[in-house]
């Protein structure tokens, strides 16, 4: 299960960058969205608040909002439309959220 979900098919000679997901370093490339950074290295983006398991996004066009991840200070990012940046520290669950949350 360490293999990534997304498969890179081209554009692989871009400079790499490192960001952190739940404290773990993840190597990505300049120009990646957060979603691609996370799913080229891993299998999921977040856990559904409604008890139906793991999620990895759905529409990739900023319409479904299934790809929310959080910065460590609680900011919400839409992973499919946010570019990856070096040093970013992300959380796959909402920091300090009451459980379960609506929206």
């Amino acid at each position: 299960m360490t293999q990534g979900r997304f498969v890179r098919l081209a554009e692989q000679d871009r400079p790499s960058l490192t960001l952190y997901v739940d404290g773990q370093p993840v190597t990505a490339m300049e120009g990646d969205t957060l979603m691609v950074a996370m799913l080229a290295a891993g299998r999921v983006l977040r856990t559904s608040e409604f008890g139906d398991g793991k999620r990895a996004g759905f529409c990739l066009m900023a319409a479904c909002q299934d790809c929310w991840v959080w910065t460590e200070d609680g900011g919400r990012l839409r992973a499919c439309s946010t570019p990856a940046s070096a040093g970013l520290r992300l959380s796959t669950s909402q920091p300090g959220a009451s459980w379960p949350t609506a929206n």
Binding site: R5, F6, F50, G53, C59, L60, A63, C64
Partner: protein, 463 residues
């Protein structure tokens, strides 16, 4: 606001082919429009641009549409500095003659004299059991991953659903070197023969489509038609491991895959038209509610115009034409002189694309009958994990048969996608359960904000 005194303010929402051509047309008439797009780069869906540090050619990205993509991109680049272009900006409401925007700079409102909505489309989805598993994506998503990020959504991808995009995206995957496990089309092949009389309206596009199917067969990809999706198999923790379908001959079959691209053609993004209080009418052919508009794109509300796939799913080529027409309609209504021959010429083109689109609707129908057969445990609302059974219970126990009432009780359509992905299917589930025509269920009303807003941004001001 010096130029507001000089020229009327026309706001164009969307910088896809429709919005780009609308903006160009306005500029040619001496009006400098405001062009607002949520995306960072102009181009819209089909001509979506890759990040600036990617190097693939237009040919590699857009195939047969490379020259058109280039023309739309160049066309916009040439005017981007002249129009009031606001990328990375969401229009989240329309009220009181103003568009309400949100961007990193903050919230703002902007009054308009005319509003041209070119908001495009998103995938039209029919749920199937297991479609909430990680690894199930919309068909459009599969294409965005490839076009915008040079990625496949999985190591072994099943394409399931119907419509021209099913074949297009699958063949783009093959060409890019991805592994396509199968193309599973719910529409029977015989439909395509019945559709031929209308599809022939655009022989070039039809030929491209036939070539795609051939390319898939040549690459050894199983392409099956008349298929009934039964389940996306897998589990909630690890995600998709395949699909189970019933084939046209009645046998069941499993396909192993770690990703599924699912979609049934497209649905227009009509929330803004709804917030602008435009009237809608039920389209029986595609079983959905569409904003009313005249042949040039005038909505039922004065000063509001609709173009591109956000008004009718007529495709990218038609979007360029309807974008021009909508701009000309706005110009005419503002007292500009518009050449009647140009109008005739453009209307004729749109009519031809409309005939082709009718053919597509015959060839690849929305499989509404699947809704009645969805197992109770299948999730309808992916946002909040509401099942078909939950929705049916609401219909049976409360008698709520109208879309917005059923939404209030069941929460289907209330989640963060605001019904974009469950709305049509939810209406079909209600209709089948209550045994009424789907148009009687009505449609989910658009609500502001049309997308969840970032919490931490400040007011920017009023213009």
């Amino acid at each position: 606001m010096a130029d507001r005194e000089l020229t009327p303010r026309i706001v164009v929402v969307g910088a896809g082919p429709a919005g780009v051509r609308a903006a160009q047309t306005l500029l040619e008439a001496g009006i400098r429009p405001v062009v607002i797009d949520e995306a960072a780069r102009a181009g819209g869906q089909i001509y979506r641009r890759q990040p600036t540090n990617f190097r693939r050619s237009h040919e590699a990205l857009y195939g047969t549409e490379a020259a058109r993509a280039q023309a739309v991109h160049d066309g916009f680049d040439a005017i981007a500095a002249t129009v009031d272009y606001r990328p990375d900006t969401l229009v989240w409401n329309i009220a009181d003659g103003q568009v309400w925007t949100a961007s990193e700079r903050g919230y703002a409102t902007l009054a308009y004299d005319a509003l041209i909505l070119c908001t495009g489309a998103t995938d039209r989805l029919m749920p199937v059991k297991g479609w909430h598993y990680a690894g199930a994506y919309s068909l459009g998503a599969a294409q965005v991953a490839l076009k915008a990020q040079a990625c496949a959504i999985g190591a072994r991808v099943v394409f399931m659903g119907s419509g021209p995009l099913l074949y297009l995206v699958a063949s783009q995957y093959v060409k890019a070197g991805a592994k396509v496990a199968a193309v599973l089309d719910t529409s029977p092949l015989s439909n395509r023969l019945r559709a031929a009389v209308d599809l022939i309206a655009q022989p070039g596009i039809l030929a491209d489509g036939v070539a795609l199917t051939r390319a898939l067969a040549k690459a050894g990809v199983p392409v099956l038609t008349g298929v009934t999706p039964l389940e996306i198999t897998g589990n909630a923790e690890n995600g998709v491991n395949g699909v189970r379908v019933r084939l046209a001959n009645g046998t069941e079959r499993d396909f192993a895959a770690d990703a599924v691209a699912l979609g049934y053609h497209l649905r227009p993004e009509t929330q803004l038209a709804d917030l602008a209080r435009c009237d809608f009418a039920f389209d029986a052919k595609t079983r959905q509610w569409l904003p009313k508009r005249d042949q040039d794109g005038r909505a039922s509300v004065a000063g509001v115009y609709l173009a591109g796939d956000g008004a009718r799913i007529l495709g990218a080529r038609s979007a360029e034409v309807s974008g021009r027409l909508a701009a000309l309609a706005a110009l005419a209504d503002l007292g500009h002189k518009v050449d009647p021959l140009t109008l005739v010429h453009l209307r004729r083109q749109v009519a031809s694309y409309a005939r082709f689109a009718r053919g597509l609707a015959t060839a690849f129908p929305w499989p509404h009958e699947q809704a009645a057969n969805l197992p109770d445990e299948a999730i309808v609302c992916r946002c909040e994990a509401v099942t078909a059974g939950d929705l049916r219970r609401v219909v049976n126990e409360t008698g709520a048969k109208e879309a917005n009432r059923a939404k209030a009780f069941s929460r289907v359509g209330m989640g963060r996608c605001q019904g974009r992905y469950c709305g049509h299917a939810g209406a079909e589930v209600i209709a089948a359960c209550a045994n009424i025509p789907v148009e009687q269920v009505g449609r989910l009303r658009g609500q502001a904000p049309v997308k969840p807003l970032p919490v931490a941004i400040a007011p920017e001001g009023e213009e």
